[in-house]
């Protein structure tokens, strides 16, 4: 430290100077860190694929940690379930017997119907796409971040799992694969705020979307299809097969609040206790376009021509509007040209 000079005012001690320098450096560094984080986000806004590869890789690393950590949680849930089961085993047994008798009658009916449907399909030459199992895996939910409902499953790229594939649990649809690692994959659950599943109401046949809310429930968004019927509590939602991703008929949820707008549904597959799941191939993969000649016109199914249409218009009591005549003539000419 230099001796105090008369010309210059006494300088601060080197210790204090170092401290303030450090603070300044710290602030600068914090600014750099914040700017870097912002840059990261902006890059992902420009290119959303950027983050997804990194996350796929971390799914691999996280899968073992989470499967170890969830063991005690799972154990406690099982014990709780077992105690509950024991307490009302008699009532449960009676109820199940009654249900079984009813179900057997219905199963016999269903067998008959199934045979009938098969015969009809054969008659029509209808081609039903088949569901194809890709892998089975164990799932664990990663659940406590607001808005995001995801799970990690223990099958990945090596097992043939790819993004977009539907994931189905024992009780119903679980979600779809969003990112894959080598031996693990991330699944977007039905309740994720970004999840949209095309569904239909089993009872009425109305179609709509089961939209995740980021909480524990889903919204059922649909267009009112009937003035007299309405959604009821207990209505079951199954996948409709629209969009070609999810196979049709997989249970999705059950309506628990019909008065809310849109109605609320609870997913049938409990997101926190998925257990074993199946990963299936997308039900209807997008068609591979090949060059083919357009189908030829079929003369015997052409639109009826003017001589048949004109008398009908006059019989109706009104002469045909002047504009309609040239239009009909043009249609006839068009039909002639296509022939």
């Amino acid at each position: 430290m230099p001796p105090p000079s008369r010309l210059r005012p006494a300088r601060r001690t080197s210790f204090a100077r170092r401290d303030s320098n450090l603070a300044l450096l710290g602030a600068l560094f914090a600014g750099v860190v914040l700017a870097f984080a912002l840059l990261l986000l902006l890059l992902q806004r420009v290119n959303p694929e950027l983050g997804s590869r990194m996350r796929g890789a971390t799914a691999d690393a996280l899968s073992p940690i989470i499967s170890v950590a969830r063991a005690p949680v799972e154990g406690i849930r099982r014990i709780g379930g077992a105690i509950g089961d024991h307490r009302n085993v008699v009532a449960e047994n009676r109820r199940l017997k009654a249900e079984l008798a009813e179900a057997e009658a219905r199963a016999a009916q269903a067998g008959k119907l199934e045979a009938e449907v098969k015969r009809m399909d054969a008659l029509l030459g209808l081609r039903r796409p088949e569901r194809r199992l890709v892998a089975s895996a164990v799932a664990s939910a990663v659940s406590a971040s607001a808005g995001q409902r995801q799970a990690i499953i223990s099958a990945g790229l090596a097992d043939g799992v790819r993004p977009r594939m539907p994931v189905i649990a024992a009780d119903g649809l679980a979600g779809r694969v969003t990112e894959v690692g080598q031996g693990a994959a991330r699944v977007m659950l039905l309740t994720d705020a970004d999840s949209r599943v095309p569904v239909k109401v089993l009872r009425t046949g109305w179609t709509g979307l089961a939209v995740g809310t980021g909480g524990t429930l889903m919204d059922f968004q649909f267009d009112i299809a009937s003035g007299t019927d309405r959604i009821r509590v207990g209505d079951r939602l199954v996948t409709s097969g629209d969009g070609g991703l999810y196979p049709p008929g997989v249970p999705v949820g059950v309506i628990i609040d019909a008065t809310a707008n849109p109605p609320r549904a609870r997913p049938l597959a409990n997101p926190t206790g998925l257990g074993a799941v199946m990963v299936e191939a997308p039900w209807l993969p997008p068609p591979e376009i090949v060059a083919a000649a357009p189908a030829p016109g079929e003369p015997d199914r052409a639109v009826p021509t003017t001589p048949a249409a004109a008398p009908a218009a006059i019989v109706g009591g009104r002469p045909p509007a002047p504009a309609a005549v040239p239009a009909a003539g043009a249609a006839a000419a068009g039909a002639a040209v296509t022939r």
């Binding site: 560094f29 983050g51 995001q148 809310t213 909480g215």
Partner: protein, 171 residues
């Protein structure tokens, strides 16, 4: 303070310095467990720990440390990468500013500040998610912010106990 250089190679000392980051890491892992929760939301305990350590042990929770922890959170939760990294680092900066401009630690004041910071962080997280193309509604974020604010006193007590043990083991 003055004996830092002497102890810097000490293994115990190095471990001791990792404790704040360790608590945040642990809190993140607990948050990622498949717990059967009522609304499917849990207080953001990790964010609370970041705030508390930035307040009582600023040297052990620098902005870049919070950034790395936030990066881990993003990877763990599976969202866009950088949201919590940005917010954790920003939280540290904001807490430093609050610390610099206020004196003393009244529980109520700290609690209100923590609540406000948590609310701002969750609203920002929500907006950033939307900015990155998600269509998440606000409700889960508000619920988590509220729960986080409610969870402040117990988490603060926990951090205080850890801090006490750190100080004792340092002697």
């Amino acid at each position: 303070m003055t004996d830092f250089p002497r102890r810097i190679g000490d293994r115990g000392e190095t471990l001791r310095r990792m404790v704040p980051a360790g608590t945040v890491l642990l809190a993140l892992l607990v948050m990622a467990l498949p717990l059967p929760l009522a609304w499917g939301v849990m207080p953001h305990v990790a964010l609370l720990f970041v705030m508390l350590w930035a307040s009582i042990q600023p040297r052990l929770m620098p902005a870049w440390g919070a950034f790395l922890l936030g990066l881990f959170a993003d990877l763990l939760f599976g969202g866009p990468i950088g949201i919590w990294a940005l917010l954790f680092a920003a939280t540290v900066v904001v807490i430093r500013l609050i610390e610099a401009s206020t004196e003393g630690h009244a529980l109520l004041f700290d609690w209100v500040m923590a609540g406000l910071v948590a609310l701002a962080a969750h609203l920002l997280a929500w907006q950033l998610l939307r900015f990155l193309g998600s269509s998440a509604p606000a409700a889960p974020f508000l619920a988590q912010a509220a729960l986080t604010a409610l969870a402040y006193p117990p988490v603060a007590a926990m951090a205080a106990r850890i801090q006490l043990r750190l100080a004792v083991s340092a002697d």
